[in-house]
Symmetry: C2
Subunit: 271 residues, 2 copies
């Protein structure tokens, strides 16, 4: 059986619906799955929760909340409301972790957008705590600063997270987004018990595409043993999600992707 910490983030098998993804995890002997709202929405939240529970799987995280910045006050309030729905769905799905992709620049102003992210998180913290949900801020690679996340480094994510209780607001350590940062090792140590999620995939060189250029571990330049050692030294012992956005991976039969994923994970991520 594969390592009991390994989790399939269902984005890695994008062309599988949630039913097929759950079957795929069971067939491969995995214990965990990371869910995306878009897929959950196809089947419905309650039905997905039943499906996962019946299959004996645990849900490592729900992706995603966030996208707070808006050029109108109504837009920002709408985003906060939507994040409350994500928290409710996560609670029904039986996960304790919502991943926050915080959103890009709105209205042309980076500083305002960053404030809107912090204010948005502040607005949903009590609701998350009431539902037993942890909010995991995911710093994205700086190349996504304009359109997806004005939170671009672990340092910055922790600066925001530390304004709130450590039980409720933490961070995602995603190798693809963080590997370039000379400060990342010190910041992983700083993160400590605020590490709510650890996600892995590789950085291909040359990079075929900003969004869709992620690679299977071992196909790129990232030092996975060092990342895993750092995350564990900081105290993290939770699930490890493999999350790959890549058309070539998506066009490969899912069972084959899982087979490769398990082999690479065991050889590189938890050697």
């Amino acid at each position: 059986m594969p390592d009991s910490r390994l989790s399939l983030n269902q984005k890695t098998t994008q062309h599988w619906d949630v039913t097929r993804a759950v079957e795929g995890c069971v067939d491969a002997g995995l214990m965990w799955i990371g869910l995306w709202r878009e897929h959950v929405g196809e089947l419905g939240v309650e039905a997905t929760a039943d499906l996962v529970r019946t299959a004996g799987l645990k849900v490592s995280s729900l992706c995603r909340g966030g996208f707070f910045p808006s050029d109108t006050a109504e837009g920002w309030k709408g985003a906060v409301e939507e994040n409350r729905r994500v928290i409710e769905e996560a609670a029904i799905l039986g996960t304790d972790t919502v991943v926050l992709v915080c959103g890009g620049i709105a209205g042309g102003d980076l500083e305002t957008s960053r404030r809107q992210v912090a204010d948005g998180i502040e607005a949903i913290v009590p609701y998350a705590a009431d539902h037993g949900i942890r909010l995991a801020i995911e710093p994205l690679h700086p190349m996504f600063c304009a359109d997806r996340s004005v939170i671009v480094s672990l340092t910055q994510a922790l600066d925001v997270a530390e304004r709130f209780p450590a039980e409720t607001v933490g961070v995602v350590i995603d190798t693809y987004h963080l590997w370039w940062d000379p400060e990342v090792w010190d910041q992983i140590q700083r993160a400590g018990d605020r590490i709510f999620s650890y996600q892995v995939c590789d950085w291909l060189d040359p990079l075929p595409d900003l969004l869709m250029g992620r690679g299977m571990m071992g196909d790129g330049v990232i030092d996975f043993p060092r990342f895993t050692a750092a995350v564990e030294a900081a105290g993290y012992s939770g699930p490890i999600e493999v999350e790959i956005f890549n058309e070539e991976v998506w066009d490969t039969p899912g069972a084959e992707v899982l087979e490769t994923m398990i082999e690479r994970y065991e050889r590189l991520v938890t050697p």
Copy 2:
């Protein structure tokens, strides 16, 4: 006449040879040009130096030295030797500034590559000082970490630069590479008289391409007035280069590009 600090980095008019670029600057009333070795090489270093001097132009920088990392000791030594040639050429061309694009990962190891960059700079500092040349480390956007520059932030560039005399080793402030960084404003202040070059272009959203997706100022998301104010507050009063990698800009007649560049520069970069 345009602002006497405005400089055409000749990459902005990529399809012009150096002769046409010098003519273009004179026609537009510019005082400065930033040269690239690939273009200088076409005409020859001495001939380019004569051409520029006769035209009454000053050379704001020579791009580029760097690319130190190598998976062999000979490769690294070869890079150091090549950088000595760049220093000699810069001295002949009459500029005091060589831009260092430090190079990506060699041999698969990020930490070793970063050490090779620092060691490479150390190896050429005396030669640069003897030739009256300043070495300007250019932190590139983190999306270029694997293939072009393991130096990815102003913080990191200054950490390297500060090991050497402030007269000889400093940094380039390039808006495209640095705008996303929450630390950039403090780091520009920290840089002080180590700011050897200030380069501007915009970040388009969505980004059409990693390398070739740079935009004319005003077409993207960057806050130029804030950058210029920060750089000036730190004490920089030298030339300001416009450097744009973009096929659409390159396919526009050069004189038209310079006209737009001057208008945008005056409206946005030095308002």
